[in-house]
């Protein structure tokens, strides 16, 4: 930088400052999500149009398989965001969020199961196939009403929400924190998995619920329904992002971060920290349940495998890769890791778990703040940024700051 043409220098400087301002914009709490919302909407709309309007042999045609895959990814992204809200913002590491996802999924699955009607293998108009197979004579009481869409949706939200409330209330009121809480969430999802594996539970045992025909009268196999499901998923994800951002940016969000960093301090300021934790946990569980509800019609099956603790741990990896406490980080992380999974399992099916493990180790060691943190570090090194920061703090701060670090 010794002898550079001054004109070129100003141009470079301008470019840097533009890049810097865009990146620093991304660093504001929840700011990156507006950009992400835009990208999500444009991408899914373009994909839908390409699927429905273009002929199959067009180079820009998007296959229905891809549409469904994208819908699945977006469901996972929503689940990842749910985990990010409580882990990234409140420091509650839940290793059992798959439970709420799966419960939401089962709620939707029960509705879809009832929609099959007499088109099942055994042709029984009331009983789903697996019940006929088990020689059951009538529908169990908890299946009643599930043929109504509104009721099924209500149940698919109420059951996980209530479970999260009871679990959270018991755990947070007893001030269970840290690794103990994580183990309890893990136990919760494991217990549910074992319960749902049992045929007597009336949820299809290890086969789960599948062979769905239609949703709200629309054929699940048709392209238009698939595209519609993708668009609904995108829309609900966007709503979830905007709601979560509003929460995070309100005073409530600041109290939640305060609880994460100094719970005792918040308590002695008069905040009932356990109430905050419980309600945030319920909110997060509800988002996970919505994700599960959207997931089931798109993949066409829900079984107890979704309760597997491994699934929940995988979600944590997505969030860690994307970056905790940023909302957009979790979504980007979920999309990237799942895309990698699809690609990787096609090439080397046995290698995926090793790759996932390696990814987690690398991120933990080298990128503790995930990709979002990388973005911040990248933008943080810009000369304008550094200068700006020095202006903010007066000289005495610098000196005593170093003192405190020593």
């Amino acid at each position: 930088m010794i002898r550079v043409n001054p004109a070129l220098n100003t141009v470079v400087k301008n470019v840097w400052s533009t890049v810097g301002s865009v990146l620093s914009n991304l660093r504001q709490p929840g700011k990156g999500s507006s950009m992400l919302v835009g990208v999500l909407l444009v991408t899914t709309l373009a994909m839908s149009a390409a699927n429905l309007l273009l002929p199959v042999d067009s180079p820009l045609y998007v296959s229905t398989y891809t549409i469904t895959l994208m819908g699945k990814y977006l469901c996972f992204a929503m689940l990842a965001m749910a985990v990010d809200i409580i882990w990234g913002y409140c420091g509650i590491l839940s290793l059992g969020h798959g439970a709420f996802f799966a419960l939401g999924g089962y709620g939707m699955g029960m509705y879809l199961m009832r929609q099959i009607g007499d088109r099942g293998v055994y042709g029984n108009p009331d009983l789903p196939d697996f019940m006929v197979f088990l020689n059951w004579q009538e529908l169990p009481w908890y299946w009643s009403g599930m043929d109504q869409f509104w009721f099924a949706v209500l149940m698919a939200l109420a059951v996980p929400g209530l479970l999260a409330f009871v679990f959270g209330w018991l755990a947070f009121r007893s001030r269970v924190t840290g690794v103990y809480l994580s183990i309890m969430t893990q136990a919760l999802t494991y217990a549910l998995m074992l319960a749902f594996f049992r045929n007597e539970m009336g949820f299809g045992g290890n086969n789960g619920l599948t062979d769905f025909k239609d949703i709200l009268g629309f054929d699940l196999q048709s392209d238009a329904t698939r595209v519609g499901l993708l668009l609904v998923t995108t829309l609900l994800l966007v709503i979830a992002i905007l709601t979560s951002r509003a929460i995070v940016q309100s005073r409530l969000g600041r109290v939640i971060v305060a609880v994460r960093d100094a719970e005792a301090r918040s308590r002695f300021l008069g905040y009932r920290t356990e109430h905050y934790k419980v309600w945030l946990f319920v909110y997060s569980a509800l988002i996970a349940a919505v994700a599960g509800m959207l997931y089931v019609p798109q993949v066409g099956i829900i079984n107890p495998g979704e309760f597997s603790p491994l699934n929940s741990i995988e979600v944590v990896v997505w969030v860690a890769v994307g970056g905790r406490g940023t909302l957009y980080g979790a979504i980007v992380g979920a999309l990237l890791v799942n895309y990698a999974k699809t690609r990787f399992t096609a090439i080397m099916p046995d290698g995926w778990l090793f790759a996932l493990g390696a990814l987690f180790v690398i991120v933990t060691v080298y990128l503790p703040q995930g990709l979002a943190g990388l973005l911040q570090r990248f933008s943080g090194d810009k000369p304008e940024q550094a200068a700006g920061r020095e202006l903010d703090s007066d000289a005495s701060n610098g000196v005593s700051g170093r003192e405190a670090n020593a």
Binding site: S250, R260, A262, F268, N397, G401
Partner: protein
Amino acid sequence: MNSLNEFTGQARELMRRDTTWPFLVPRRRSPDVSKNVILYLEGLSVSFDGFKALNDLNLYVNDGELRCLIGANGAGKTTLMDVITGKTQCDSGSAWFGQNIDLLAHDEAEIAQLGIGRKFQKPTVFEAHTVFHNLELSLQGSKGVWSALTAKLSGAERDRIDEVLNIIGLEKARFQMAGALSHGQKQWLEIGMLLAAEPRLLLVDEPVAGMTAEETERTAELLTSLAGKHTVIVVEHDMEFVRSIARTVTVLHQGSVLAEGTMDQVQNNRDVIEVYLGEEA
């Protein structure tokens, strides 16, 4: 028959006209200090696995007073603060805030809302928030989940934050992350957070630990200026500092009060010289 009598007794007690049912009493009450005493601690005992952290402790603090608590390590100073703020349950005794509020019947959050603020030994601020937001979170007002979601900063609250920033001398650091403050500044910010809540009683645990001489001096000024409007109880090891601010000093030893009086009286007290200042004097 006996139990029936008991029951009617209880029922009569419940229907008394001169009292109010407990759940109808408003949560936020201000302490009654008509006798000029804000804190009554009587016969407090706390033991941890047989170790008596507090042993039949009696202490009265006047309204608007600046009281210093001194004592060797393990004398029970921090345990005493834990009991007052509801963190630790005591085995026996009573603790009243004014004449009308039983502190032992409330938990930490309620006691904080009643107007007792506490500064920790290790400065504890919300490092991921700016100084401004740290003070915002500390403001008096409803601390419920729903009200936090819909909260908007009013003009008066903004003024209050500015005022506190002015008192603690952090106006310039307003938008700085609290985590980036120096140790001394964090101590002040934490005191500022207590002030923003406008408490009646401030419990300050070792406010000058790790401060430079100049910072210590400013802290002493700050604490003396607070007395009068607030009641301040300071726990401190630094005897010079205590001498510079104290009007009344209480010496704790093995969980109970050993001596009380002005700094000179305390220093000339035979018992105190024996157990605490012995090595120094």
